[in-house]
């Protein structure tokens, strides 16, 4: 298994509060991604990073920001959580090849 750790695994928060999810990798891969999984939508790309401090938006980036200050860490922040952001969040990494390797996910509930 690829060395990817997501934290926390579960989070319950209230509308309007800030939330930060962390993804940590031990593979030294260049590319990192945040996806969210929702029923009927599969996995949708939120943001991605192609190097330290190099990030860009994905398909569903509104309401989210990211930061990558070190190769191994990629943070996803919800500045003011909304109920529509209740979802399962997956971090993924890639060395550039065709395959992405996914973490175990973070279940986020915004009440």
């Amino acid at each position: 298994d690829a060395g990817i750790t997501q934290s926390p695994r579960h989070k319950v928060t209230e509308t309007g509060t800030p939330v930060t999810l962390r993804c940590h990798q031990t593979e030294n891969h260049r590319y990192m991604y945040w996806y969210r999984q929702d029923p009927g939508h599969g996995l949708r790309l939120i943001h991605y990073s192609y190097g330290v401090k190099d990030t860009d938006k994905g398909e569903v980036s509104d309401g989210y920001s990211v930061s990558r200050s070190k190769t191994e860490d990629f943070l996803l922040t919800l500045e003011s959580a909304t109920s529509s952001q209740t979802s399962v969040y997956f971090c993924a990494i890639s060395a550039r090849g065709e395959k992405l390797f996914f973490g175990s996910g973070t279940q986020l509930s915004v009440l």
Binding site: Y31, G42, L45, D56, G105
Partner: protein
């Protein structure tokens, strides 16, 4: 508008029989296709892939077929086993400066009955 679609949300198959999962795409620029398998409470795991220059790739019980003219790919599992019960996602790739950008279908839940 979804560029990758899996039109069957679920599929039920008897153990030992063939499972066929289908996927359609709209973007002819996709250059690589992948299938991922996902168990509950776990992340998706890579299963099999195919380059756009090929029409078939086989790995043990799993075979992926690509029909570029129809913009259609399928995953065949033969023989199906109860442990294959999971959600299967097809994904299409555009490799660019930002690495591998995967676009996923909505998933198909496969249930293999003993």
């Amino acid at each position: 508008d979804q560029q990758v679609k899996q039109n069957s949300p679920s599929l039920s198959v008897q153990e030992g029989r063939i499972s066929i999962l289908n996927c359609d795409y709209t973007n002819s620029m996709f250059d690589y296709f992948l299938w991922y398998k996902k168990y509950p409470a776990e992340g998706p795991t890579f299963l099999i892939s195919i380059s756009s220059i090929k029409d078939k790739n086989e790995d043990g019980r799993f075979t992926v077929f690509l029909n570029k003219s129809a913009k259609h790919l399928s995953l065949h599992i033969v023989p199906s086993q109860p442990g294959d019960s999971a959600v299967y996602f097809c994904a299409a790739s555009l490799i660019g400066n930002a690495g591998n950008m995967l676009t996923f279908g909505g998933g198909t839940r496969l249930m293999v009955k003993p």
